[in-house]
């Protein structure tokens, strides 16, 4: 590939040189495009002065004028030294304009351009990511070969940058460097490999673009990232989506077996039924194996489907071609609706989409038949759109709809756009040829058109009739006679030639007319078009052979005329015919067969769609549009006979995407592995359940007898680093666990039910389980149900980790006339409703009198919020205190619940604003589940921040304590020392909220929150940040 594009570069260089040459002649005239002379020279002088002035405004003015010159295509290169001085300007706009100038002219003034490099090198180290990114952008755009090593270094560094935005720019820079110096390919591939592993949606599209440009044949780099790319796809920006989808289409065609084989599968089955031969049977057995789609193949097809709803036509088209090329034929139907929608767009989009539909509609008529009327032509359509629509209508025509279509065609034939009318006639011809029922109707219709006033229409009709008659000769003497008469009036050469050919071919059927026609033609021979002359010669020859008595002299006359014609083709033909038909002593053996040669049965022409041969190009590509291979076109390979090893896409344990290994698949491949993989899962599930303290690990069954030991064992079974923290809060844990085990039975069943419902409605949210589901065959159903039930457990609520309760003031005793109220969040599941957060309110009477009838009134709640109030308290003794609990459904928002706290005499307005961490319920989850869920909540659903943490914050116990203090989350046992994970779900909607704290070297830590509730997620992030960073 590299040599290929390298060669291309050279070629294009040559091309530019010639183009430049042309330019010298072609563009010198308009308004002195080259400012080499007089007035412009002076102007440039004053620009130089302005650039050297001290005032930014003067500089800016100058730069603006220079950019104006560049935009108009004028040469401003001589200002280079003056401009490049300003590269370090403080003014952002000047700087930007200088960049524009630099990128445009650096290639021409390489030595001077080097002066600016150090500025960019400095900027590459800037703490601001956007400045780093823009420095890299300009640096890599300066096409100066000397700085290749510097660029390489900068790219390598940027590829490891913390900011995804800088990494995105690094991916862009790869392509620039590659086009500047293809020698760097190997090094660049290394960078690409690294960036492909990037999990940021910002990077994905750009790096795949770089991959496509630099090393599209290194499909092996994709394997490990395939699933990640599929999952990120929806969140990537639209342009990146197009590139990734095209790449994945090619990938799929090399890695999976064809899903289309099913169609002929039935035949094979039958054969094997009758075959008794052992060897044969073995062979067919192999083929008989029912086709099951690789789950990865399915993953791609499923994850691209929502993109059909994109507003970007290019994305829709990309998905459409993906479905066309890699999905089972039965599923490709869904793309037609979206493609038809694109027809509402601008004419250019229509043009491309219609072309692709035309190709599709040849192979699979059924897909677009329901949308037949969408392809009806409007008189306002541009001609190219009209003809494409006609093409599609022709492809879609069948016995059922042809009568409606013909009626529609009748309108088109009368169109004022004659070119279009002619195309319609061609179309009618094709319909007539393809659908035998309507051939006669069409033919008579076309004959009617022969009397049309417009010559183009008549000519086109003649040509089409000729083709049709050729297909079914014999019965159409009348039509031929009619057409012979037309020769007097019609002037279009093609039509005249067609008529002459027809008469010649059928000269025996119209014995009287044919010689007469020849006579007339002989008279006008000299003034005819070359095309017609050739046919006159042919006609003469044919008549000479069949009816030499009448036409001998005429033919000789014509041959004499032809002998001295100006056109050598005609002279050639004349000589050839004379030798062949006029017997003389020199004539060879061939002349005996002259009649056979001239009057042989000719095969009827096939009226075919011009789009017939386009299907070997990938749809949606430039090559398909041009029907010619464009430079850099990558062939779509055929499906492999046997799928390459699918395990290459499995990612190491540490990696996020690991969970995508479907259990069922592993079983199929390697039956001995089955036991292990399943037991592993079991272990996992017991892990998660033992964590919640409800059940001990299966190994520790004996220890169960000792009352408290179950907790200890559960901690043991969780991984090492966690246990330390566990021990510290050991006692609390025990207490909590005990309490929990009492209520557990009830709560759990409720939760499970809810989860059931949830998994029903939002199937797609759980990509893994459904991926197995859809690709399942009977043999796999067992493992499938297993994995499904496992995934349901994922969001089981666990007991909250104990933290000292924080109380907040609800009503101060001063403003409450002696009544004081505090509220706190006990972090218990609310007894009033499972969407509510439980709130404890402690009321104190600080007066020396009894306070009577304390109750709540006038709830002013935002929409959707609900509140369950406590029962009115009849009286509160002086110095007495009482604690009541209530439930508030905050709808997963931090909006305040305002209400009035009333006593017998007074009313006090109070409000409760929940800290975001209290809107959560802890969830018990294994590390594996956590990663799986996290994998599904990337992209938009991820917020992250880097924090500088004080070293004393580093012990796991401290981090755990700090996070839990803020958020009511469950601890996920972690396999690594430096990563802490917490899982929770929101109370109202049950959306997962996953918190990851990853400690890095040098007292930094990465805080990542994954949740569908992005708003809450970002608030939580904001609250956690100071807590973790403070000392």
């Amino acid at each position: 590939m590299s040599s290929n594009s390298f060669a291309y570069n050279e070629q294009s260089g040559g091309g530019e040189a010639t183009e430049l040459g042309q330019e010298a002649t072609s563009t010198i005239s308009p308004s002195g495009a080259f400012g080499l002379f007089s007035s412009d020279l002076k102007k440039n002088e004053d620009l130089k002065q302005m650039l050297e002035s001290n005032k930014d405004s003067a500089k800016l003015d100058a730069m603006k004028r220079i950019v104006g010159m560049i935009a108009k295509g004028k040469n401003a290169s001589e200002l280079f030294p003056a401009v490049v001085k300003n590269v370090a300007s403080k003014n952002i706009e000047i700087k930007k304009l200088v960049y524009v100038y630099l990128v445009r002219y650096a290639e021409e003034q390489q030595d001077l351009a080097l002066l600016s490099i150090s500025t960019f090198q400095r900027a590459l180290k800037d703490p601001n990511q956007l400045i780093r990114a823009s420095a890299l952008r300009v640096l890599s755009s300066i096409r100066v070969p000397i700085i290749v090593p510097i660029m390489m270094l900068a790219i390598k560094e940027a590829a490891a940058d913390l900011s995804p935005y800088v990494r995105k720019n690094a991916a862009h820079a790869i392509q620039k460097l590659y086009s500047l110096d293809p020698e760097q390919k190997e090094m660049l591939i290394e960078v690409i490999e690294k960036l492909l592993k990037d999990k940021s949606i910002l990077v994905a599209g750009s790096v795949v673009m770089a991959f496509e440009e630099v090393c599209p044949d290194r499909i092996d780099l994709i394997h490990k990232n395939y699933r990640k790319l599929c999952n990120l796809l929806v969140d990537v920006e639209e342009w990146g989506q197009v590139v990734i989808i095209h790449m994945l289409t090619r990938y799929a065609r090399t890695q999976f077996v064809s899903p289309w084989r099913e169609d002929d599968g039935l035949e094979d089955n039958e054969k094997s039924f009758y075959d008794s031969d052992d060897e044969q049977k073995e062979k067919t057995d192999k083929r008989k194996k029912p086709y099951t789609m690789d789950p990865d193949h399915r993953l791609l097809i499923r994850n691209t489907k929502p993109l059909l709803q994109s507003r970007n036509a290019a994305v829709v088209m990309a998905v459409a071609q993906l479905y066309w090329h890699i999905s089972p034929k039965s599923e490709a139907g869904i793309i037609s609706k979206s493609l038809v929608r694109l027809l509402r767009s601008n004419r250019e989009v229509q043009y491309i989409v219609l072309q692709n539909i035309a190709t599709m509609s040849i192979q699979r008529k059924g897909m677009f038949e329901p949308y037949l009327k969408s392809f009806y032509v409007r008189s306002t359509d541009p001609t190219m759109i009209k003809t494409l629509k006609l093409e599609i209508l022709t492809n879609l025509a069948n016995e059922a709809n042809i009568s409606t279509l013909l009626r529609e065609f009748q309108t088109y034939v009368k169109s004022q756009d004659k070119q279009f009318a002619a195309a319609t006639i061609q179309t009618i011809g094709r319909c007539a040829a393809n659908i035998s029922e309507v051939t006669d109707t069409c033919l008579s219709g076309l004959v009617c058109l022969l009397s049309n006033r417009d010559e183009i229409v008549v000519a086109e009709s003649v040509v089409v009739i000729k083709k049709l008659l050729q297909m079914q000769p014999a019965q159409h003497g009348e039509i031929i006679k009619h057409m012979a008469k037309l020769l007097d009036s019609i002037t279009v050469p093609v039509a005249r030639a067609s008529i002459l050919w027809l008469i010649g071919e059928n000269c025996e059927r119209v014995p009287k007319i044919a010689p007469d026609v020849l006579r007339k033609m002989a008279k006008s021979f000299t003034s005819e078009d070359d095309l017609v002359k050739l046919q006159i010669l042919n006609l003469g020859a044919k008549l000479y052979l069949t009816n030499s008595k009448q036409t001998k002299l005429l033919t000789q006359y014509i041959l004499n005329l032809g002998k001295y014609d100006q056109n050598y083709d005609i002279r050639d033909r004349t000589r050839f015919i004379r030798q062949l038909i006029v017997p003389n002593e020199k004539s060879g053996a061939l002349s005996k067969y002259a009649k056979k040669i001239f009057l042989a049965q000719k095969p009827a022409p096939l009226l075919e769609s011009p789009f017939k041969d386009r299907d070997h190009f990938q749809l949606g590509t430039l090559s398909h549009t041009l029907n010619a291979k464009a430079a850099g076109y990558l062939e779509l390979s055929n499906w492999p006979e046997v799928a390459p090893d699918p395990s290459v896409r499995n990612v190491e344990v540490i990696d996020l995407a690991k969970e995508w290994t479907p259990a069922g698949k592993a079983k199929n491949e390697n039956p001995t592995k089955k036991f292990y993989s399943e037991s592993e899962e079991e272990e996992d599930s017991s892990d998660s359940s033992s964590d919640s303290g409800s059940e001990s690990g299966s190994e520790s069954g004996e220890e169960d007898e000792e009352g408290d030991s179950s907790e200890d064992s559960s901690e043991d079974s969780s991984s090492e680093p966690e246990s330390e923290s566990g021990r510290q809060s050991d006692t609390e844990n025990r207490r909590v666990a005990k309490r929990n085990s009492k209520t557990k039975g009830k709560g759990d069943s409720k939760d499970e039910k809810k989860e059931n419902e949830k998994s029903k409605t939002s199937d797609s949210s759980n990509a893994e389980s459904s991926s197995v589901e859809e690709s399942s065959s009977d043999s796999e159903s067992e493992s499938e149900s297993e994995s499904e039930s496992e995934s349901r457990k994922v969001t089981k609520v666990s007991t909250p980790v104990f933290v000292p309760m924080k109380t907040h003031v609800l009503l101060h005793r001063m403003s409450g006339k002696g009544l004081a109220a505090h509220y706190s969040f006990p972090r218990q599941p609310c007894i009033f409703g499972d969407k509510m957060v439980s709130v404890q309110i402690t009321l104190n009477n600080t007066t020396d009198k009894k306070i009577e009838n304390i109750h709540i009134r006038e709830k002013k709640l935002p929409i959707g919020m609900q509140m369950h109030v406590f029962n009115p308290i009849e009286s509160l003794e002086p110095e007495g205190s009482i604690t009541v609990s209530m439930g508030i459904d905050f709808c997963d928002s931090t909006q305040t619940a305002s209400f009035q706290l009333c006593t017998k005499d007074d009313c006090f307005s109070v409000n409760i604003q929940p800290p975001v961490g209290e809107l959560l319920l802890p969830v018990a989850m294994s590390e594996k589940d956590f990663k799986k869920e996290q994998g599904m909540l990337t992209g938009m659903n991820e917020t992250s921040a880097t924090i500088i943490a004080a070293p004393q914050n580093f012990p796991p116990s401290v981090i755990l304590q700090k996070v839990i203090n803020v958020a009511n989350a469950g601890v996920v046992p972690s396999g690594q020392d430096n990563i802490h994970r917490f899982a929770a779900k929101t109370v109202h909607s049950g959306s997962l909220m996953l918190v990851t704290v990853e400690l890095k070297e040098g007292s930094t830590a990465q805080l990542i929150i994954n949740t569908e509730k992005t708003v809450i997620g970002s608030v939580l992030l904001r609250e956690l940040k100071p807590v973790l960073s403070q000392g």
Partner: protein, 418 residues
């Protein structure tokens, strides 16, 4: 990907060029001019033109050709869609996209183009982000800039591009928080000679103008979401919510944007709100023809039809027309042969009509086809498909926004064959 961009006006001058990789000589456009000559009409210039070393992909809008030069295989829609996005951005920035405006603002145009592509690959195409990078020119700002010497380039670097909601800028503040939604439906139809419908379908869009402080999270639900057969979303819409609950849930971009476009399922019969009675006849012998059209309401659900404009491309043989309308004004351009009649409102009691004679070129043969009639109209406060917004809620922010929803029905490509 995209190598260079040339802007060419209708008289064939290249008035702007921009290169993202090495410079491509503007002489490459000669191939384009050749194709343009061959096509006679601007509309018929093929969008993809191959040349020996490059490919030219073009779009034609606002009487300007935007010609992109590419060198290697790339999905053509990718380039075309991007060019349209460029035009949309210009329109967004300058109000109109025309040659003089682009020439006047050439620096801003250049800066915007620089940000939109990096090495020919789209970088920032969201107008919210672009506007933060490069502020659109306003009269006030131009005045301020000339006095103070400040610039159009945003001094704050946009963070939106890096955030989880790349389409919304951060730190938005309004004193009046408002969110307006326009449901606009267009009827595409072909009506045949006898007045029966050949095809008719409804396409709709919901355009939004959202000016809300902070990071609001909106949900919009419909009374009858089933009507929507095929939809395409702004990237901000959460697809999962739509799939499962048929609710539009989104964090909106700031300002104007198209939230949704939809197609109403074909099973529903489309109510055609207008009919046209026509009597157009040419005779072989005489050079005069008769012309008479009447427009009337039909299935309008009690609403008035406004803004009716009738246009028709007359056959080439027509010399002139002498017509008298019962209301409105009409014009006939003898060069382009375009008849246009601005009717205005339709009064059901007194139907508007246009009557008169057509004079044909002497000696020319009778045109074989009657002209098709194109119709434009508007009906306020009606979504012809019956689509209704149920409610709009806001989460994530504490203030109460002002909400408004407007319905409108328009003619799309509405043709009557005669």
């Amino acid at each position: 990907m995209i190598h260079s961009l040339f802007l060419i006006n209708s008289s064939g001058d290249i008035f702007l060029e921009k290169h993202w990789k090495s410079v491509v000589s503007r002489s490459v456009c000669d191939y384009f001019f050749e194709a343009q000559e061959r096509a006679t009409e601007a509309e018929n210039v093929p969008p993809v033109i191959p040349t020996p070393h490059h490919y030219l992909l073009s779009v034609y809008r606002h009487k300007i050709f935007f010609v992109a030069v590419i060198q290697t295989e790339v999905p053509p829609l990718f380039v075309i869609e991007f060019l349209h996005r460029v035009v949309d951005t210009f329109q967004d920035y300058f109000g109109v996209c025309s040659e003089p405006v682009i020439k006047d603002n050439v620096v801003v145009v250049y800066e915007v183009l620089e940000e939109m592509l990096d090495n020919g690959f789209p970088l920032a195409t969201e107008s919210n982000i672009l506007k933060e990078l490069i502020k659109p020119p306003t009269i006030l700002r131009t005045v301020v800039n000339t006095i103070t010497g400040s610039t159009n380039v945003g001094d704050q670097l946009p963070t939106g591009q890096l955030s989880v909601v790349p389409w919304r800028r951060t730190g938005v503040k309004y004193t009046n928080n408002e969110a307006y939604f326009d449901v606009v439906e267009e009827i595409d139809a072909i009506i045949d000679k006898s007045g029966s419908t050949i095809t008719a379908e409804i396409q709709g869009v919901i355009d939004a103008c959202v000016k809300l402080t902070g990071m609001p999270d909106l949900t919009l639900s419909f009374m009858n979401p089933r009507l929507l057969d095929d939809v395409s979303f702004h990237p901000c819409v959460r697809f999962k919510r739509w799939e499962s609950e048929r609710i539009l849930s989104f964090i909106p971009p700031d300002g104007n944007f198209r939230l949704l476009s939809y197609h109403v399922s074909a099973q529903n019969l489309v109510a055609i709100p207008v009919y046209v009675k026509h009597n157009i006849s040419f005779r072989d012998s005489s050079s005069l023809g008769r012309f008479e059209i009447t427009v009337g309401p039909k299935q309008t659900m009690g609403k008035t039809i406004e803004g009716v404009i009738v246009t028709s491309q007359m056959p080439k043989g027509v010399l002139n027309m002498s017509l008298s309308p019962s209301q409105g004004t009409h014009t006939f351009d003898p060069v382009t042969k375009m008849l246009s009649w601005d009717v205005g409102k339709i009064n059901p009691q007194k139907l508007p009509s246009l009557k008169g004679t057509v004079s044909l070129q002497a000696g020319a043969s009778r045109p074989d086809e009657n002209p098709t009639i194109n119709l434009q109209f508007k009906i306020q406060q009606l979504a012809i498909s019956g689509l209704k917004v149920n409610r709009l809620d806001m989460y994530g922010e504490k203030y109460k926004p002002f909400k408004g929803i407007k319905y409108m029905t328009k003619a799309g490509k509405f043709q009557v064959r005669t």
